[in-house]
Symmetry: D2
Subunit: 328 residues, 4 copies
């Protein structure tokens, strides 16, 4: 199989070739996750051979690469009740007004609990870009008007569609950085479709319909060392837009990577996002930590596994913080 | 196997019997998830036979049963950028100050995106109570002082321990409500260890070491109909505290239920929480939606499955919103 | 002065009469606060005669009348560091990893602090509706397109306009409930312009250009007793839409009340909000606590005072939580 | 009056001298705001001579100096409903499920509104440090145990105490930077009590009992130019700890400054905070923008004014975002 694109073709020339609008019905809001059905899940389950569980999510803390100024901030984990409140049942005796929300009321009988909450921008860490995350020309996947995504959330193509279908299936790992014997690919390096095929061949793994393709650039490993948020967000190696065509030709269900935007940023017009999310209805996974997976696969040479990357069921969401598990 | 408890024994009499303090080392912060190792995961993987994927999480929206007043509120899903911002690149021409954070800056070249965030109390919906969620007498699991859980989070026994181990293994489903041919068990009904054994025997399923035992009361199904938050939070049927002893005897890795607190609330002193979380180091799952799983298992009579209930990697967290998948 | 409206005129017939579009220039984003200049402020200052300070804000807590489901929730006050963290510097010795965000790092040398944050929906409690809060037919105050209020905030008519001008001047108090010797006006009672004139005359106070007119229905006093949020939000007594015309004729700078929406809700089409905010550019104050002010003014019969109701400087905000001071 | 401190005395030697514990009763939670009574307010009102209103708050936006990593982040202003939702009532026809929280339901009849919320760390911008913000040796102001400040807020000495008393009175402006003909005082420069007296004398203004003393270093003006958050947070000029003694001797009600911590940071043990907040019960104002006030006072040489710096009424709060007004 080849991408077979004539020289000079732009991403806009490929829109009709890759479009999945109407492919799963006029009312479809799920997109390429339709490619994962019972057969694919059963086959993926058979890949659990070692009992090895590798989490692919990054810690959702204040050390993520996001800025302190914009609308995409690092998450905040906030303790609502903590262990320092233990003694207070004793210490606050005589200080507590009737009717107050004090620990004396809720911690009676010696029972003690702690509790917490998150302020969680969905694009801050390991995530799925949802089907409703990208649009252009006023339309999103399957022709729904972008205006159906209101301040109240996505009334079409919300993340609850994926959450209720389930995001689990066969994961195929293309370790491009290791293929080049590099800790990390060079900044702004654009991975081509041919290179994806080459890595798969070298690893002895085949990309099949319904696969979730997981691709490593080494960018997260580098960020863990230098914590250079600006470089990680703006200058990572990534896919060329032609890889969206490749994904379509391989009937890929989703792509996930260890960089910040899957594709190389280039001029910021995001052609791969447009093709994959808006025209194909495909989830894109970003900021995945693939370092441990890279080590594990290199040891035994097995680059396929069961992958569960299930999002929370947040109705109308356009992105989702996740902690995927590769299970081998 | 039997719980064999002399009449009149209280939960405090059982603390030493069930205690796992020191069982996996003085430094252990993981608890009963230690019971899930490669063998258990591999065996669980073999249960993926039909390719059926059943999400067990409830929608994280404003219709959850939590109050409007306290510290445990319903989650908020907030759009940070929405589809109504599409036209504004045109409409705001001439209105945009240089340097403003306006969509003209970020949506150049025709590319459009949406973005969202969550305000997410971890106890609001489908969740794991973490190992750090419950303590008494100043100590938590494995003898760590409760004061190690500060305003900055749990410096011991945080949810990142489970997240980095992975929470996936064999799920065993005890459908107590269906066993009694009831849509929902009566309010404040206390399920006994003997009843759990009876349901397992009736279903033809065996509870093994490292299992995640999933137990249905029908409470969430009832809440979906009547939306009676007060009843759901305070009066559900649940486990008697003796079931913690049962869980210890069966080497159960975790228990999850469709009610709000696993155990019957009774006098609010939470003996099962104390035994299971603080003394055994066990995750407790609450507010799971087991309605679809109940239907599926009743059809083919298979009450075991692969279960992935992986939390986000939030360092220092004491609870975790999850969307578990039962895969059969 | 009279409102002089022919019978049968609707609010739409009055739009041109009350419109302030262009009145303070084509570029104005401030609206009727333009009516408060140095002369008005100096005159208002002279009303500080007793040294009496009366706060008019309600507590921003979980007992406010808002629902647990929608997008307008009660505020949350969250402790980020609390006094229970005191001992932990001692207790966590030996438990703290190098590099952790633990209190040992930040509380060195015996110094201890506490810290907090708010999740604060601007419409939840005592507030100003900003000039950008209401529009119709695609346009807001002074003809700016509504689309200039994007997900990033109001690029025109944001609350920073009022915050940087200052919201302080002469307050005039029309205690309609007390005028009728009622603790609270009947549900859905509509106050007319003639009634406002009548109350002012009875109180011996004159409404002047640049005044902030503060009007009491008794609704907040009733809510404090019965905590009936639904009634408070939907059925309070309030102004008839004709009072917007009255306010225009009196050159009023702003109106504030102790009910939830200033005007009677009626069919929910909010004609007074449309006239006052969109056509006149006027701040509307809602959910003010006027109980203590009512007592104080009744004692000495002085119904004018210095009023400071300054909002936080939040660029692009369309509403503002405030705690106004009446100083007499 | 002089501070008269023997050489070599440390701040701990001065605790008893400055202590206000018990001064206003054993139950007092208000502290030095007790020094502002009706006489002080009335006298302050007489300073409103020009009708000039000068806001002293900084914009609460993402450009504040706080870090992206810690627990003290920049505020987030979030639009919950925006002007881009206008057309959607039309555009989403046919896409809206019955029962959904869609704009079709809430924007009937052509009425349109926008709405917003804040995530607001109280220490992020212009603020009051509350009486409950600082403690040591387990005790806070007036001898209350620090443990009375729980995860649920300060059950003693909360910000509601100040909010319900009202924070308004005579402001006295000591423009130390201008006194030295400097745009900004040197980094880590420590202002002494003698220097405060000298500036007051030079300005011809007297510090009286109940005054709120506002002191300018030029630090905010510098930050506006270079946006060097690290320097602003850690290296600003500020008061020496002896100025707390000076404030006690002058019966000052509160001190506010344009730097980040009032006092010079030094070794981070915060002796002035300890003396002023914990021993004296005094509010400290930080991150005030005094640039415009500096210009105005220099023009006419009048360094006293009416100051309103009223906090929101947040029960149990230990800090407060404010937008103070200097009215002259």
């Amino acid at each position: 199989m080849s991408t077979d694109m004539a020289p000079g073709r732009t991403w806009r020339d490929m829109v009709e070739d890759v479009s999945n609008w109407g492919r799963w019905g006029e009312d479809d809001q799920l997109g390429t996750l339709n490619l994962i059905g019972p057969d694919e899940v059963r086959a993926a389950g058979s890949l659990i051979r070692r009992g090895q569980v590798i989490p692919l999510g990054v810690p959702l803390d204040g050390w993520l690469p996001n800025s302190r100024t914009g609308f995409r901030r690092n998450p905040m984990h906030i303790m609502v009740v903590d262990g320092g409140d233990d003694d207070l049942a004793e210490k606050t005796k005589g200080f507590v007004s009737p009717g107050s929300r004090n620990a004396l009321q809720v911690m009676h009988g010696g029972f003690r609990f702690t509790e917490d909450m998150l302020i969680l921008p969905s694009q801050a860490g390991t995530q799925w870009d949802g089907v409703g995350h990208v649009y252009y020309d006023g339309l999103m996947y399957n022709g729904y008007p972008a205006a159906t995504i209101t301040s109240f959330g996505a009334s079409r193509c919300g993340m609850e569609q994926a959450a209720r279908h389930g995001v689990a299936g066969r994961g195929v790992f293309l370790d491009v950085a290791r293929h080049h014997s590099a800790a990390v690919l060079p900044s702004e390096y654009a991975i081509s479709p041919a290179e994806l095929d080459e890595v798969a061949a070298s690893e002895g793994v085949e990309v099949r319909s319904g696969d979730i393709v997981v691709i490593r650039t080494g960018a997260w490993g580098k960020f863990l060392v230098d914590r250079d948020g600006r470089e990680y967000l703006l200058e990572c190696a990534g896919l060329s837009w032609e890889c969206a065509v490749w994904a379509h030709q391989h009937n890929v269900a989703a792509i996930a990577m260890d960089n910040s935007q899957v594709e190389v940023l280039g001029d910021g017009t995001h052609p791969l996002h447009r093709l994959a999310i808006r025209n194909m209805g495909m989830l894109l996974g970003e900021i995945w930590n693939l370092e441990a997976l890279s080590e594990a696969c290199a040891v035994d040479g097995a680059y396929e596994f069961f992958l569960d990357a299930q999002p929370l069921d947040v109705p109308g969401a356009v992105g989702a913080s996740i902690n995927p598990l590769a299970i081998r």
